[in-house]
Symmetry: C2
Subunit: 378 residues, 2 copies
């Protein structure tokens, strides 16, 4: 019986994680749940999964009778975070969206816990100070899960190329001139994947793939020159690793996050899912092509930022999250997302972070730069 | 430094194996060469690779001055076979074509040696008595190498499906009515792979894929219901394993036997080859479809024969080799290959072989049945 802690339990990854726990009772149970705030959904999760620990980031009154009824250990605040990331569990599953995942990820790794995570922002921002501890991370991102699986039993010295595939998002075939008129609703309609809002918008700008390049660099300790991106609109091939002998090991499935989440929990074993098999006999098309870097400048920027290294990946991550939020709250148009991010990157000038405090400071100062840039542009 | 023995050194697999040794001097050297007969090619191989042992199956006078000049230990006959299959080497590479590979394979496995083999006939015919020792075999067949690699670090209990791909051979799109007019030369023109004559004709009838189903059954200890065949004319995806979670791990490369041969020698490491990368950006088509079992009845027959088990796979293997030889020597037309094999299978009635002698007897009696059938049909 595996005991897991689910951080970000009410989000897209968190709820799917709990769906999987429900399907595999007898193999896995939930010891802790964590969410940014108390909600009806969290209440229902507590009632169904009966965790021992519950953490809520924004301190609010969690009903006392709930704590009493289910004999919960209720945690909040900084001290609570230190506690919730230091439990005796077999695995932490982190489904927190965006930069809110950085601190929990930091503590989980510092506490030497097993970590399965979908939070690329934390992997990127903590990369410079924690990448040596990344070998034990099981990635949940479908692409990185694919690469992780394709590296099983292989030596990193034998990697010729890591290929990340990208569906191309909802605007793959939209002319760039129309980007300014894209609605939030349209940008949230991903053709292949059901995901949280932040990552869905990142998929529409291809920033998601850009962040994944940096994520892959840190996770698999691979130079940027060995990481490629291919547009693959069918989203069946999730990742490929080419080796020095010319062999490519690749990971293929119907696009469904249930697979990489289940894998992260079952690893190194595999458990059944109800995801249907790929129907090879009725594949009408299976295409791969070069991304359009003019149309999706953030993909190129992300790789450049990754190569620059130091604090730049952190600046990129923060600027992107702020820009995406501005778009989601309809403060800026879709085409302005890359403009804002590019300007923030140009203006940033930090050294290489050496400890968590440096990262936090870089993040805070990037927010200031962002506000400044925003004022000047609009 | 790995020391290897190359059996069938002058054949297609053997010469490519030696090409790889030449490319990787410093990592691998040849301790023994074996060939069916002495030839100019074998002489050149002896001069270049300087093995300690040389085995020739058909006893002929190997020049005494050659033995003396290179201080060779020259082996032949049954005793020589026992000796050549019991050397202190790191790996035996068996590239012997057809049923001639059965005895050497038997002794190599009985002597508990490490074996990399392209000889599917031996794997099939010895399956019932030796399959427990198959776990240590590194397959050289590109499809089985692909499956072997896709199973790395995985549990066989988690396999949902093994998919063997087939290029479809030179007659994929030829109407069945024209099969009677196919010339030997046409049948030897494989569109994707350069291989020996026997396997090339087997690829044209799709019997090769049929034999590979049985080979996969024994090598990977997988029931026939879990083994599928897909026609994939581009020959880029060499094999796929689908797991219970819906994940498919697949092995992709430009079709070139150098890759699986190098892998068999370098395993568990990988060594460089000069095979070019798959050019995904210029893939025009990548197709998968169901085989035409009417047009290629041997594929269906082989699976049925595999399921029947007992001595049937041996009968199939022998009947096929005889029929292919008849076609190669222009005694029968291409369309008669399946007719003859089918009739031999119908007439065979042996029990399950329990030891090598049973297998040899079944093979001999199958030859008699074949001759009988041949007389009646023609």
């Amino acid at each position: 019986m595996k005991e897991i802690a689910v951080l970000g339990s009410t989000g897209s990854i968190g709820t799917q994680t709990l769906d999987i726990v429900r399907q595999h009772t007898g193999k896995v149970k939930v010891k802790a749940l964590a969410s940014s705030k108390f909600s009806q959904k969290l209440k229902e999760q507590i009632e169904e999964f009966r965790p021992k620990y519950v953490y809520v980031h924004h301190y609010e009154t969690i009903p006392k009778e709930l704590i009493k009824k289910y004999d919960l250990i209720f945690l909040t605040g900084e001290e609570g975070l230190l506690h919730i990331t230091d439990l005796f569990v077999d695995l932490y599953v982190v489904g927190i969206a965006g930069i809110a995942g950085i601190l929990p990820t930091y503590y989980i790794l510092e506490h030497k816990k097993n970590l399965a995570t979908a939070n690329k922002e934390a992997i990127i921002c903590l990369g410079e100070i924690l990448k040596k501890q990344y070998k034990k991370i099981i990635p949940i991102d479908s692409e990185h899960s694919a690469i992780f699986q394709s590296l099983k039993g292989e030596k990193t010295k034998n990697i010729k190329k890591i290929v990340l595939t990208a569906s191309g998002g909802p605007f793959l075939n939209l002319p760039i001139e129309s980007f300014k008129d894209v609605s939030v609703e349209e940008a949230l309609q991903h053709p292949k994947w059901k995901m949280g809002e932040k990552v869905t918008i990142d998929s529409a700008t291809l920033m998601n793939k850009g962040l994944e390049i940096i994520e892959a660099h840190y996770l698999f300790d691979t130079p940027y020159s060995h990481i490629d991106v291919l547009i693959h609109p069918q989203s069946l091939v999730h990742g490929m690793v080419e080796y020095i002998d010319g062999t490519i090991i690749s990971n293929i499935s119907v696009p469904d996050m249930k697979i990489p989440i289940t894998y992260a929990i079952s690893y190194p074993d595999r458990w059944e899912t109800d995801v249907p098999s790929v129907d090879f006999k009725n594949l009408h098309k299976i295409e791969f092509f070069e991304p359009d870097y003019q149309k999706f400048p953030l993909l190129k920027l992300a790789k450049e930022v990754g190569i620059k290294g130091e604090a730049y990946p952190i600046v990129l991550t923060v600027a992107d999250e702020l820009a995406v939020n501005r778009f989601l709250s309809q403060k800026i148009t879709f085409d302005k997302i890359p403009v804002l991010i590019q300007k923030v990157i140009e203006r940033a000038n930090f050294g290489k972070p050496k400890k968590l405090e440096d990262i936090i400071q870089i993040m805070e100062e990037t927010q200031e730069i962002f506000k400044q840039v925003e004022k000047e542009v609009f």
